[in-house]
């Protein structure tokens, strides 16, 4: 009885968050004017779309960048992940944390920071006399900048999978006379392949969904990618709703294909590698090779974290850009201005934090319930629930934004969240729901199936068992996922740009508008403050959780 009510509630939430926006995109793409109840002219928008001379270059560009980012992430993430997963490295937790930072930094800020550092007469040329102008403003430059933001997914996939599967089998091979290299190539690597493939495909999906870097570097690289194309169709006058919807649909299909491939490949990895028994982490000693092993870590952190974030902070500290790098051109006035700007910056900050907190709580609750219900059975309804909850992982932000506008910006709704904060909460929750569902599901799979029945036998109600047994056991995973949601939601750009009601700004919008008006210093100061604040919040939460765990 209770579970049926719960199922209904979950399905209602999923319908509102995921299914309806997607349905409206499909309707808009097929019929040009579904808003007016006009069902004629199916597919009438398609010829115009295919005649667009931009379409083919846009597609090829997107696939090329996506493929390039996937490949480069593999080249960077695999060796680093392998070293981390196989050897006892000093400061292992610190490297993990450092590699998390590029993932948490707004990509368009990173792209702009690179621009200010690398372009002609940029910081590099002022310091060491060379510029990378032609490299940066090309598809190669775009690929590299995106790789430095995205490669951590491959790194984490590889290192975690190696740590989980352990080295026992490889040691067996060594005992039987295989060389270290042979044991790695024939035992360890094949075991990691599913996770590796999953990570690479995820990198591809993230790259084709990315909006910030293409928007910041695209015009000068003469490359318009799909996400930017959709945003222009939708947010520049004259708007083209059917065109935006059809492009959205196409982009989602590519992402969905990649995502299905990834699920097929990673689905089997759980079976072979993790058997539920506690695995002793047998990390090898690096010995005299250790300094050589640490070198790629140091270089990567320098490239992916120190340089872009350094350029970002520096831009916020420079009094004028034309003044260049001089001690007497340093000032705190951009930071100071954030607090005096008629309260705009602070309001944007509290709006973003509030929304990110709301999204974390909403997706945390919903994600937990979905994962728990899905773990209990294999009915068609539950499978559908699972699919719907994970679907947004394959929906680019710009597509979710389009869907929510098409759905809610209609005259026929008696009440609509459009033009209120709720629409932003909805969009963040839709986009980020897959994180808690994924994290909690994998945590639940590791629980012994007898725990809950044992509690029920001892007289606990279903709810009590859930609250006192299941929830505490999956809480670390759930909290980790919610922190991820919080971090991403607090900097989300593209749906915020599309959906924010008049009179409100989020952090990302505030920064974007500062750039639009030529106040680079102010935008960068805001970006720096926000990054510091979210990092502090996340570190604080991690430390709090660890202290709780030690008691």
């Amino acid at each position: 009885m209770m579970s049926r009510a719960l199922n209904g509630l979950i399905l209602l939430a999923l319908t509102l968050l995921v299914a309806l926006p997607l349905l409206f995109i499909v309707l808009q793409a097929l019929f040009s004017q579904p808003g007016e109840g006009n069902w004629s002219g199916a597919f009438s928008a398609l010829p115009a779309l295919f005649e667009d001379p931009q379409l083919v270059p846009m597609w090829l560009g997107t696939l090329k960048i996506g493929g390039g980012v996937a490949l480069c992430s593999l080249l960077l993430g695999l060796p680093l992940g392998a070293l981390r997963g196989l050897f006892r490295l000093p400061g292992a937790a610190m490297w993990d944390l450092l590699f998390l930072i590029p993932f948490l930094t707004p990509p368009y800020i990173v792209a702009l920071s690179w621009t200010l550092a690398l372009q002609r007469n940029g910081y590099f040329e002022q310091l060491i006399g060379i510029n990378f102008d032609s490299l940066l403003f090309s598809s190669t430059g775009m690929t590299l900048v995106m790789t430095l933001n995205i490669f951590p997914v491959v790194y984490f996939a590889v290192s975690r999978s190696l740590m989980a599967s352990g080295q026992r089998l490889a040691w067996v091979a060594r005992v039987h006379g295989a060389s270290a290299w042979r044991a790695f190539a024939q035992i360890t690597l094949p075991l990691t392949l599913p996770a590796l493939a999953g990570g690479v495909l995820l990198a591809f999906t993230l790259a084709i969904e990315e909006y910030g870097v293409p928007a910041a570097l695209g015009t000068q690289a003469h490359l318009t990618l799909m996400t930017v194309g959709i945003e222009i169709k939708l947010a520049d006058w004259p708007i083209d709703l059917p065109g935006a919807a059809s492009l959205s649909l196409m982009l989602s299909l590519v992402a969905l294909t990649a995502w299905f491939l990834q699920r097929k490949l990673t689905g089997s990895s759980d079976v072979t590698a993790v058997n539920g028994k506690p695995v002793v982490q047998e990390l090898a000693e690096g010995g005299r090779w250790l300094p050589l092993m640490l070198l790629p870590f140091i270089l990567t952190v320098l490239l992916a974290v120190v340089l872009p974030l350094g350029a970002m902070t520096l831009s916020g500290l420079l009094n004028t850009l034309s003044g260049g790098l001089h001690v007497n051109n340093l000032t705190l006035r951009h930071f100071g201005a954030l607090f005096s700007q008629q309260g705009d910056a602070l309001a944007a900050f509290s709006t973003s934090i509030g929304l990110a907190l709301g999204a974390a709580l909403l997706t945390g609750l919903l994600g937990f319930l979905i994962a728990w219900r899905v773990s209990e059975g294999k009915t068609r309804l539950l499978a559908m629930m699972d699919g719907l909850a994970l679907l947004p992982a394959a929906m680019p932000g710009v597509v979710v934004g389009v869907g929510l506008i098409l759905l809610w910006n209609r005259g026929f709704w008696p009440v609509s969240p459009y033009n209120t904060m709720f629409i932003l909460l909805l969009s963040y929750s839709c986009l980020l729901l897959p994180w808690p569902v994924r994290y909690v599901s994998s945590a639940l799979r590791q629980l012994a199936p007898t725990l809950e029945p044992a509690a029920r036998v001892h007289g606990a109600s279903r709810l009590q068992a859930l609250r006192l047994i299941v929830l505490p056991l999956v809480a670390p995973s759930l909290l980790a996922a919610m922190m991820m949601v919080f971090a991403v939601a607090s900097r989300e750009l593209v749906t915020s740009l599309l959906l924010a009601p008049a009179g409100t700004q989020t952090v990302a919008i505030f920064i974007w508008r500062q750039f639009e008006q030529g106040s680079v210093g102010q935008g960068m100061a805001m970006a720096t403050v926000t990054l510091l604040a979210s990092l502090t919040l996340m570190l604080g939460a991690t430390m709090l959780m660890q202290r709780q765990g030690n008691k």
Partner: protein, 323 residues
């Protein structure tokens, strides 16, 4: 369990925070505006102080503001619209979306900057923005940017994203015909690149990645100069165009009376002084500006009105400088 307690407190405060933000004052006036965010903010604050009416602002580029207006056609939200391109007002006028209103405060606005339906809030002009430290000779005419000294050092805003930039192209074509296109060809041959909207073209010039912008909106740069940047706005000797910023009330407004009060306020002494402070030319001739006025700038002939011509110019320019 202190952690659970803190989670609960967090949840409750989050809910209070979000619900406080949800309360969207139905009585508030909604203003969609392109251009300086600090100006729209100070106009809203001044207006609220004077009348007690709250103002919600949506501020973005002209293209984004118009797109939002169009997207909300089924359920209009905006009461007042301030765009950066005169052309958009003409377009909305043709569609019949505007509420006629002539403010008493518009008496001192020159005839060419007002109609029965819309009136200029302020006026900007287009010029060359030049980095004084770039080591290039100071350009005096548009043609100077085709000199070898400016090889690969010129950028221009995308006219598809910057309405004012398109006005300049049309102004040049109207006064010089095919000679204007020869100029664009030469600029292209000299390595001029097209960037995003106005600021995206100006920022590389601030850092010195480029030496000059061909056709930038002037007020943004005047503001940069006031902040200490070493750049200069140059109005070429052979003439440029001004971009009046039309302000209009939408017919769909539920708050027409308040909207009229807002227009009155923007055109009042106080409102126009705010406009001047944002480095624009005030629409009223009797308010002091801190920058050259359109009477002091050599102007190209005003653009004609056919919209097909606009899209033709845009298409031709896009083909020349696009991918």
């Amino acid at each position: 369990m202190p952690s659970l307690k803190s989670v609960k407190t967090g949840a409750i405060s989050a809910m209070i925070l979000t619900s406080a933000m949800m309360i969207n004052d139905a009585q508030a006036l909604t203003v969609y505006t392109a251009g300086p965010g600090s100006l729209s903010k100070s106009l809203a604050t001044g207006f609220e102080k004077q009348t007690g009416i709250k103002v919600n602002i949506f501020q973005a580029t002209t293209g984004k503001v118009m797109a939002r207006l169009e997207a909300e056609q089924a359920n209009p939200q905006a009461d007042v619209l301030i765009s950066a391109s005169w052309d958009t007002a003409e377009d909305l006028q043709h569609r019949g979306w505007l509420l006629p209103y002539e403010s008493a405060n518009a008496a001192k606005v020159p005839e060419q900057f007002k109609t029965a339906n819309y009136v200029a809030q302020g006026i900007s002009a287009l010029g060359i923005v030049w980095n004084t430290k770039s080591g290039t000779p100071e350009p005096k005419t548009w043609q100077d940017l085709t000199a070898p000294a400016f090889k690969d050092k010129v950028t221009t805003p995308d006219p598809a994203l910057s309405g004012a930039s398109l006005d300049l192209l049309i102004g040049l074509q109207n006064s010089e015909g095919e000679k204007a296109w020869q100029l664009f060809d030469q600029l292209k041959a000299n390595g001029m690149v097209m960037s995003g909207p106005n600021a995206q073209a100006v920022t590389p010039v601030l850092q010195g990645a480029k030496a000059a912008v061909f056709g930038a909106v002037d007020y943004v740069t005047y503001n940069n100069i006031a902040q200490g940047e070493s750049v200069k706005v140059i109005f070429p000797e052979n003439g440029t165009v001004v971009a009046p910023r039309p302000m209009m009330i939408l017919k769909s407004s539920q708050h027409a009376d308040d909207a009229k009060k807002f227009v009155d306020y923007v055109l009042s002494d106080e409102g126009q002084e705010q406009v001047a402070k944002a480095w624009l030319m005030p629409a009223r001739t009797d308010i002091k500006a801190q920058r050259p006025l359109f009477t002091e700038i050599k102007l190209l002939p005003a653009n004609s009105d056919g919209s097909s011509e606009r899209s033709a110019v845009l298409k031709r320019f896009g083909a020349l400088f696009g991918q």
